[in-house]
């Protein structure tokens, strides 16, 4: 008599020949229903990301929308006037251009510092460093990225402002330069880590081919890797820009509090984000001022959406190849 290996304990029902009958055990209807339910929950969680993005836009826009119907609110003035007098009794003006220019100038200054250092560090980590060194540098980047923005703001307010005053003789240390440096330090980690990913994504065969032609490492970097990885590197820079534009607490504390178009790096500025944080607490819920601040939020949402979308398309372009 043979017992098939499929029935090691010999307990399965046998047919007339003594061979274990292989029957498919059917799962109960309840078990199947439970699995369906679990999968539905998983699917719903998956779609929740879309839901949340739409909800953010909806709820921010819902608070802002009523002001669009008011006569005192002019969309062109909102976008292209530098006059921001939200609490004036006689001459209320809601022009955000000075704030937009504030955001752009701080971000631009931050990128002037962060892009060369960030990409340089990404190249070093990806192409020049040994495995141990690489490990340590990546941990440092991770820790640098973890420092909360309010701590960066605190550093700007206390340490950096004193350094700036003593080096440049500026009357106040919280200004465009301060905010730019702090934002640069904050966006370097993201540029480094995305940039390193981009360089890693360049196939090794490219490097080997260049090496076989006798190229040095440096020649490989600027003749082969930079052209091949340029989309990914562009995405790294864009994500750094996104981080800098959206940053709130650090610029609130480090750039000073002047709503005006800056003329030099030592002028105080205010950004779109900092302006909301600074004034929302004082604006009465439901007032025009309150709604205009929400409208600024809609504007910020759209700006960062565009930046992130572009970065995503750039990364996708890399992957397709």
């Amino acid at each position: 008599m043979t017992v098939l290996a499929i029935d090691p304990r010999g307990t399965a029902p046998k047919n007339s020949n003594g061979v274990a009958a292989v029957t498919r055990r059917r799962r109960s209807a309840a078990a199947i229903a439970l699995e369906r339910l679990a999968e539905a929950i998983i699917r719903a969680s998956g779609f929740s990301a879309i839901f949340f993005v739409l909800a953010i836009f909806f709820f921010v826009f819902r608070e802002a929308a009523p002001v669009l119907l008011k006569e005192s609110f002019k969309p062109m003035e909102f976008l292209f006037s530098t006059q921001w007098y939200p609490t004036s009794d006689v001459n209320v003006r809601y022009g955000t251009l000075a704030l937009t220019i504030g955001s752009i100038s701080v971000t631009a200054l931050a990128m002037v510092i962060a892009v060369p250092f960030g990409l340089g560090a990404a190249i070093y980590i990806s192409e020049f460093s040994g495995p141990r060194e690489k490990e340590i540098l990546k941990i440092v980047i991770e820790l640098l990225a973890a420092i909360p923005s309010v701590v960066w703001g605190f550093i700007g307010l206390t340490v950096m402002s004193r350094i700036i005053v003593s080096l440049t003789g500026a009357p106040v240390g919280v200004n465009l330069l301060n905010g730019g440096i702090i934002l640069a330090l904050m966006s370097i980690p993201i540029i480094v880590s995305i940039g390193e990913d981009a360089l890693k994504a360049v196939p090794d065969s490219y490097r080997e081919a260049a090496e076989a032609l006798g190229a040095t490492r440096w020649q490989i970097v600027y003749r082969v890797l930079l052209p091949a990885g340029k989309n990914g590197l562009l995405a790294a820079v864009l994500l750094g820009v996104g981080r800098a534009v959206g940053e709130t607490m650090a610029v609130l504390m480090a750039t000073g509090h002047a709503v005006k178009v800056p003329h030099s790096v030592l002028d105080s500025v205010r950004t779109l984000t900092a302006n909301i944080a600074a004034e929302l607490g004082e604006a009465a819920a439901g007032s025009d001022h309150y709604r205009v601040l929400f409208m600024t939020g809609v504007l910020l949402f759209l700006i960062t959406f565009a930046v992130n979308l572009t970065a995503d398309l750039a990364i996708r372009g890399v992957r397709r190849r």
Binding site: I42, S45, S48, G120, R217, L280
Partner: protein, 304 residues
Amino acid sequence: MSVEPLLPAARFARTDSVRRRERAQSLAKATFFVMAIAMILPLIAIVGYLVYRALPSLSVDFLLDVPRRGMREGGIWPAFIGTLYLVGISLAVAAPIGVLAAIYLNEYARDTWLNRLISLAVINLAGVPSIVHALFGLGAFVYAARFGYSVLSASLTLAIMTLPVIIASTREALASVPMAFREACWNVGATRLQTIRAVVLPNSISGILTGIILQVSRAAGETAPIMFTGAVFFKAVERGNLFPYHLNDQCMALSMHLYTLSTQVPNVEPSVLYATAVVLLATVLLVNVTAIAFRVWLRNRKKW
């Protein structure tokens, strides 16, 4: 009879162009090295300076004591425990949704336009400025859902803000489980869900936990999203009280406390200011170091 060398040795000497190339190479390497080091220096300098200035106030008592003399002296207990509350509740909300969303994206989703849209939404959720999250929390939770300015509103705002952190790292953890593991399980007749429970999750649980730890670090440091949804400048709490807040109370938080002390309160004892910053920084960095240590341990243990 001596053998004449095939090629004169001089042929192998470095030509000018080779020398030039090597100079460029070492110059480039040095430049990039300096750029990489330029990242380490600020980290050490910042942490070192903050700790140095904070030393006169740093003690266990500073952590457990309540603020005194209009927050100019004393400790930070109400803020510290408030941060724990906010992080705990936001974690309880974000972790299940985030992990399930990542399971959907990695295990179920095919490459359709709808699923690409989900990935894009995750990226954008991560990119939305923190102050816009604050506006959303104010409009949705405080007003529309009528939770008021409360621990609950602030925690929910934080949860949505930190969701992408959990989704991204869980997805990475799931993707690192080899496809062959799943195929083996399917081949013995297991369904997709059974495979996930029996094979995918046990093999990626440490990676998922790392992601959850990172969410904690992110949530603990955020200020803007809680500023207008539930965190307040001051709230009277007894020293060392572990349960000072209800869900619908307003609360203090470490990050908010640091902002308030450094911008709104005049004549604060400097060491109190720096000590508050150090406690916040130490909390966040410790959590991150834990995540890193966890990951290194995990990588050494991995058998495939």
